[in-house]
Symmetry: C2
Subunit: 104 residues, 2 copies
Amino acid sequence: MIENDIFKALADPTRYVIFEKLAAGSMNASALREGMTISQPAMSQHLAVLRNAGLVREQRQGRFVNYEVDPDGLALIAHWLTKYRAYWPSRVDALKTLLKDMDQ
Amino acid sequence: MIENDIFKALADPTRYVIFEKLAAGSMNASALREGMTISQPAMSQHLAVLRNAGLVREQRQGRFVNYEVDPDGLALIAHWLTKYRAYWPSRVDALKTLLKDMDQ
DNA sequence: GCAAGACATAAGCATAGACTTATGTGATGC
DNA sequence: GCATCACATAAGTCTATGCTTATGTCTTGC
């Protein structure tokens, strides 16, 4: 279950912040730590989780590792969402009416 | 951070299954337990988490409580996704469909 | 009223996972 | 070669949370 890894990765507040930072622009691990009170190993571990979930990908540049948002992860969420189009708001009213009619 | 509750709620495999079951059709808590080896309190607790996250809503019917997918929760995820449009690969068909449906 | 059913809440336990410090690995520069 | 930097991995600790049993609350049917 791939989606589960994605949700688990984004469920942690610290990782969520890291992901948002990367979404604003790709960065290496040290740069990501700036402004956050987090140890270097913790950052490394969080990035590994995000990477394994497919939300982030790395790119070695000498002794730096540049991290960036991986579109594939976002695509998976989007694809997952399409499974529930029946429940999307634009159709909610029609659905509500339908359900109400069916109940009686 | 509302999204965090949503991701946290879906990160648990058991809750994910419950959500999928409800997406296939609204049910009461007892019906949800069928086919799952899970205690009644555990189910009740999971449903509370899903409800607090806005993913599921309840509807009292006598001594039964009918649970159903709350479109608001899915709408929040969809809205969250739009923040990352810049990263969406144009080639992904699922995304195209999603965008088209959401923009109208 | 009272028993039984459907669900929620309480309290305690046990594991997952987020953190730490310490150490390892690979690249760069002198 | 060797010191240093950027990052990964290891190992241990502590807290969050998912589970259990026990009990409470509300509703229905007799």
